[in-house]
Symmetry: C2
Subunit: 891 residues, 2 copies
């Protein structure tokens, strides 16, 4: 059978028997929603969906729509004509359509939309005559020319906006709605002239040509820069493609009985069960989203158009019940009649997600397991992220406030463009920036991603800035110009609010939970005593099989992690303890020692520090596992480069500066990542392993005696590539530990294991497992070596890798399951076979990445270990993996 590339909305539901997954895969989320709503008899302007498979075909055909698909589109346009009783391209009563993208998973604002398509110089007059509303007709036409030029032909949007501003100034009006029919007609001519000047040909008058070009533009937009960035952030595969929805226009701009808006069935910021939304009278959809005018809250509609409001409330409640999830809906009112343009599961803040999930369990709408699956683990990050310290906040007086568009708090230096934001965060004097914009647009996504927070002058709770910031978990205050005396001067890089002038680089603080704006920087603190969070994490903990440990190098991080629910420490890096000023000197002496005696003397100075650190950590973690990794980095990382420091060290060591410089030079390495580091240090200097074992065992003995509960130390050897390497160091550990334990006259057990972070270690896991008590996958280094990518240098080419789509994801962020994952699986299987008691964990940064956690669950690991703030994320991801896994096995 021929593949069907186009479905009328009313065909959609039946074609897939209402199967939501199949519908979304083929029709996209928006297409599926439209099919659903049509099937349910809701007031939906009719139309058709060009499938995601047509998009894939478009790319396979070298970015062309083939004849068969074109014919299919035109045939469905004829069906739509029959449906609406209007003719596409008719001179006197033209059928106008919107052309919108709609991928499987919603990517708000990432792809392109064209409204009012089908107009030309003749039919605009027909529309004016038919509706008796030339202002409306030309408003549609000027919008269409602008959107078509921008989206399809990529003529810069600013050229058109400047003309609107010029005209408004000339006419002395503030709002677009104050422009007359003649003004708009004049504007349309100007717009067409801009088009012609840029494209060297007149604006296309053939509606079929307009349609095919628009569909191509939407397909093409799947591959634009911002969509690629968004997909990378959200792990959406490129191969999915986007569907295109062609829908008869309902006109929100046809007068004061018309309007358009967006609304949520529950509050997307707080999760409260209340209809929440905004609308604009006499406007089209993009006006609301783009934040051109600040819209009215949906509650005002109750007074303005009570019947419409009631109908909308009724429909939205039906939709939420149908999808059993909070809905994000677009609607248009045309001459007092309500049309539903779209419904989808709404994006929400972490707080809202938690509250909605818990409420829906209480309402009996979903199960606890479903509730666990409803939370995007990545989003928890925002919840756990610092807020302004309540004490510090007491002293701060707000300069003004805007809308609390995305929760969390941020302090940073003011930047005025996304590019600047992206650049300045790399500057170590800046790092933290707050992006201040009149309004944001999809091009700004790169800047929003790196900024601590976003502050906009215009736009509401559903403006681009607000939606995107909430999705990212970035704090955002929007529309601060509405209630304050605000001006922004991009050219001179200044932002003024109620008389206070900020220059680029000045510190500003914003609170996305209150909308307040402050001068200077304010101290942050974290809080996670949200009761919904606690409830949901309890459900998660009872569902998961994986243990969740933390990576912590000091007592304060460890306490933090334990508060976040960490069940043990998967990685305590002993080297991080040595950068403190009072310790680094002893470390440097050790490194520069030229004799074993001198090295032992320096190590003897270091041992008490290590022992004290470990003692403090054991006091917190008690008998739960504390996995202490021996010294790992290349030694030269500890050495001074500043001449003053070198002089001081030489003095301490009683050698000449010249001699010390020679030692430092000798320690230089060409590829330090693959150099003299990890357990290689213990092989050349076994006394390091002796000292570190001594510190660990002594600390464990001290705390075991204090508490009367016997600790079992976990000693982890880094960078093994060969079992004999590991055995050599293990022998030193065992000899040292056994003596200390026997001298102490106690019965202490201990485990000696290794990192698996070198490909050869994974490949020879069967041998290593015979000697090791546990494996911990160091997926950072394992990714480096498996790909041959130096993390420090890969930025030189990874950009090209993303743009050419050689890589869709950063393998350092999301585990490469094909290559690195194969080594992990092989190591698990062969390690367990050789040693059934072998404990398996992972302590690379992937331990806190949800999709990687799911992989580790499937691979059969015992635990994941991640940074303290990621512990709850890992707990939730582990629960989701456990809930999903049996389903996956049913397949």
């Amino acid at each position: 059978m021929e593949k069907k590339f186009t479905y009328m909305f009313k065909e959609g539901y039946d074609a897939f028997n209402g199967n939501q997954t199949e519908m979304k895969n083929i029709l996209g989320g928006k297409g599926a929603g439209l099919a659903d709503m049509t099937h349910a008899g809701m007031p939906v302007p009719q139309g058709f969906t060009i499938t995601t498979e047509a998009c894939t075909q478009y790319y396979a055909d070298g970015r062309e729509i083939n004849e068969a698909i074109k014919e299919d589109i035109f045939r469905h346009m004829e069906l739509l004509e029959a449906e609406t009783g209007k003719k596409f391209g008719d001179d006197s009563d033209p059928l106008l359509v919107s052309v919108r993208s709609g991928a499987r998973q919603s990517m708000p604002g990432m792809m392109d939309t064209i409204l009012n398509l089908g107009l030309n110089d003749i039919s605009v007059e027909g529309l004016a005559a038919k509706t008796g509303n030339p202002r409306f007709a030309y408003d549609c036409y000027r919008r269409f020319v602008q959107m078509f030029s921008d989206v399809v032909m990529m003529v810069p949007k600013s050229l058109f906006e400047e003309e609107i501003d010029k005209l408004k100034e000339q006419k002395g009006v503030v709002n677009d709605t104050d422009l007359t029919a003649d003004d708009l007609k004049e504007l349309t001519s100007t717009f067409k002239a801009i088009y012609e000047k840029n494209e060297n040909r007149p604006f296309p008058q053939d509606p079929k040509e307009q349609l095919i070009e628009a569909v191509k533009a939407v397909f093409r937009s799947w591959d634009n820069e911002r969509a690629n960035v968004y997909r990378r952030m959200n792990e959406i595969p490129y191969e999915w493609g986007t569907a295109v929805n062609v829908q008869a226009m309902a006109f929100g701009n046809s007068g004061d009985r018309s309007g358009t808006g967006v609304a949520f069935t529950r509050n997307p910021a707080t999760g409260k069960r209340e209809l929440m939304g905004e609308y604009l009278i006499n406007a089209q959809g993009e006006d609301v989203v783009a934040g051109v005018r600040t819209p009215s809250p949906i509650s005002h509609l109750k007074d303005q158009m009570p019947e419409v409001y009631d109908e909308f409330v009724h429909l939205s409640s039906n939709l939420e019940n149908h999808y059993r999830d909070m809905q994000d809906m677009e609607f248009t009112i045309e001459d007092g009649k309500l049309y539903m343009l779209q419904t989808r599961n709404g994006k929400r803040t972490a707080q809202a997600a938690l509250k909605i999930a818990c409420d829906m369990v209480d309402e009996g709408m979903i199960t606890e397991e479903e509730a666990v699956l409803r939370i995007d683990p990545k989003q928890l990050d925002t919840l756990l992220h610092p807020q302004f310290d309540p004490e510090a906040l007491k002293a701060a007086v707000p300069l003004g406030s805007g809308l609390a568009a995305s929760p969390g708090s941020a302090s940073g230096r003011v930047v005025f463009s996304a590019e600047e934001a992206a650049e300045k965060v790399k500057d170590k004097d800046w790092k933290k920036v707050v992006l201040v914009r009149l309004e944001t647009s999809p091009e700004d996504i790169i800047g929003m991603q790196v900024a601590q927070g976003v502050l906009t002058v215009r736009g509401g709770m559903t403006s681009h800035a607000a939606v995107v910031a909430r999705g990212m978990g970035t704090c955002c205050v929007s529309g601060c110009g509405d209630n304050n005396d605000v001006s922004i001067d991009y050219a001179n890089e200044t932002f003024t609010i109620n008389g206070k002038v900020f220059k680029a680089g000045d510190w500003i603080s914003i609170d996305g939970s209150t909308g307040n704006i402050y001068e200077g920087s304010i101290e942050l603190s974290s809080s996670n005593d949200n009761p919904d969070f606690k409830r949901l994490m309890k459900w998660a903990d009872s569902a998961r099989r994986l243990g969740v440990y933390t990576n912590a190098d000091n007592p304060s991080d460890l306490q933090n992690a334990v508060d976040m629910g960490a069940e043990g420490v998967g990685l305590c890096r002993t080297e991080h303890m040595f950068f403190a000023e009072d310790r680094i000197m002893a470390m440097r002496e050790m490194i520069c020692s030229r004799t074993v005696q001198a090295r032992k003397a320096a190590l003897a100075k270091i041992e008490p520090y290590q022992e004290a650190d470990f003692t403090a950590m054991y006091r917190i973690i008690g008998v739960n596992p504390l996995t202490i990794r021996f010294l790992d980095p290349p030694l030269h990382e500890f050495l001074p480069s500043d001449p003053e420091d070198i002089k001081a060290l030489a003095g301490e060591m009683n050698i000449s500066v010249e001699e010390l410089n020679k030692i430092i030079t000798n320690l230089h390495e060409v590829n330090p990542m693959m150099g003299h580091r990890g357990l290689r240090l213990c092989i050349t200097y076994p006394e390091i392993a002796e000292m570190q074992t001594t510190a660990v065992i002594r600390a464990a003995i001290t705390v075991s005696r204090e508490t009367g509960k016997m600790i079992t130390p976990y000693i982890m050897i880094p960078l093994t590539s060969e079992v004999r390497e590991f055995k050599f160091v293990k022998d030193i550990v065992v000899k040292t530990a056994d003596k200390l334990i026997s001298d102490a006259g106690i019965d202490m057990k201990y485990h000696v294991g290794t990192m698996i972070e070198i490909p050869r270690a994974a490949l020879t896991s069967g041998d290593i497992a015979k000697e090791a008590d546990f494996f911990s996958f160091g997926t950072n280094d394992l990714t480096q070596m498996t790909f041959g990518f130096s993390r420090d240098d890969a930025s030189k080419f990874l950009g090209s890798y993303y743009s050419t789509r050689i890589l869709e994801q950063d393998p350092f962020q999301h585990l490469d399951q094909t290559g690195v994952g194969r080594l992990v699986e092989l190591s698990c299987t062969e390690g367990r076979k050789a040693n059934p008691k072998l404990e398996l964990g992972i302590c690379g940064e992937h331990g806190g990445d949800p999709s990687s956690v799911e992989f580790f669950h499937r691979a059969g690991l015992d635990y994941v270990s991640c940074s303290p703030y990621r512990v709850p994320i890992a707990r939730l991801a582990a629960a989701q993996a456990a809930i999903k896994a049996p389903r996956a096995m049913e397949k």
Copy 2:
């Protein structure tokens, strides 16, 4: 059954049914030979062998000989007493024994030997009385005290030698043999005093204690520094262990009708069929080997002791026939009676090995396949290594000459110690050294390994220096003091020969084939027109299945390789062509270009150079494969560091020095090995791939037209880690190549393949093989990434790895079959499965390493590629692998 740890010589043959392999494995080579000779009824002083398994047990027991083995030894000593009719430790007629090492494979001079064991203060007098020869008795005793002290107790040998020299001076005699009985008695007392001073106890008088200590010392010597170095060079596993032979002494030092010597059944330097050897009258074995006196050629024995000579000729002929190989024999004459102390397959030069193998085929002694197996491929190196250029030699006048102890020629700077040699070869101003020594000892092996040649003042053709140098293929001239006026002054680092004084660092040249010594350096040239070599290589070529290609970057190397028998080019590195002065500037411009236009302009300058190089290479290799690898190294390797060069480049590029320095700094990488290199360069700068494809295809078209034979280019993409990377670059290659070929209007095919040198590439070979025409394993990089060892930095710790025996072999020299090999096998299997036409080769340095070649044969590769001089080695190794493989499969 209890394991048997000791065998009398006369038990040995029957215990293993004469199975040579088993005998060698358990009894060691020397023990097996003694058992064989005893079984054949030859005159062998009887004794017993303590097995290699006893050695393994010794190490397993923590370097102790357990009671069961000790009892076994004493029981066999009793059997030996019965055999000889003498009592071990008897006061009046003591049984004296030698205690010698004997591993599976002979390791000449690497381990320890003790002679005359069993003497003490009382029995020495008994021996003197019994033999009526007190001089002899005390000669035995002083030798024993010295050897026992040196070998067993590690009292420095020099302490004893100084005393001998002092005594000789005092007595006014030249040779040891001129010392009287009283002199030797006095010397023995002095030696015992030295022992006592060093050990704080008297010299042990109990023969049983002496015996056990000596056996332990031999076992321990298996693990000494020089044995470890030797094993690493010869790929002998540590786990084999050594056997110990305890043998009744035959006394070559009992007067003028006594003597000792070593001989070969054929000439070990030339292979000529002639008995060749040396002997000393009134001496013990170590005198010959250590080069203390220069011995007489064996032919003199014919006159001196005709009957003994005839018997020896007869026995040696029998031994050669028995073993069907050239024998290296030790013998002793005691009062006119001949004793055979040892026989083994003799070490020989490459020339000799070839001649002997060919001669034995002609003599009907061995088959052609056996002949192929007889040659150690590694040894061919010496054959193919440069000799003095005949023209250059004509102008050189020798300063003098010594013995032509190991063939080949060498020019280098004079060094006087092994340590200095090892150090100076790392100095780029030195690099080439010639080690000049009075005589060499096993401690010097590290220096001999790195020197171009070895020159000794004392010692014959079978001295330590000669034997070891031949084994290594290092050129050696020995005993130059015999015919020349020579002095050597270690303290002032000068060497004088016939009036010419050489200081450390002066250039000297030696010819190991003629024995001549020259001042200054002499040009070298290579020759491989040895007819035996050609014959044997023909047999090898018809036995092998693997193709043998070469790595060659320029026409001259390629011609050389073709002359050596290369069948194609497995690796032509395009970057090496760019370090020439006239080209580097264009390359640098390309690298520092800031725009695509500028880069294309620079590449346009480079293209003609590349095209010309490829054209020249195609003219040599014709239609045989020429595999051209695209640009591989990190770009900064090409950049200038010298300020003058930077200034020149900035001028050429029309930018400021400051700006250029900024570009250079930006190109710096933390771990360049895993940085922006290989195909990553073609992904960021696709125009590089376009240019290189153009150069390859144009060159192939030119030469195809010239010759009328259509060339099939092989284009190789380096550093793939992901199939999409490869596909991206391949698409550029295909697009560019197809256009050129179609424009030329010819029908040319071409292949695009990739290096497999990143672990992930091996792990995803199934995917990559679907796109690639061939794989070439880059085992250098693959070893780096699989181990996480940076080749540039690993020297910092590899020393410790060898000394702790974590690694026995350098994985960059011999393929790590366990880890890296597993990736290679996996890649072969999965690659072939996905693409049955996939061609598989290897172009890392392992391609010329015999044991690695054997692995690649088993893994099913199509070819190996190696440097030109290694081509014959690879051909031979490939043949041996093919001959051995079916046998291995019969197991």
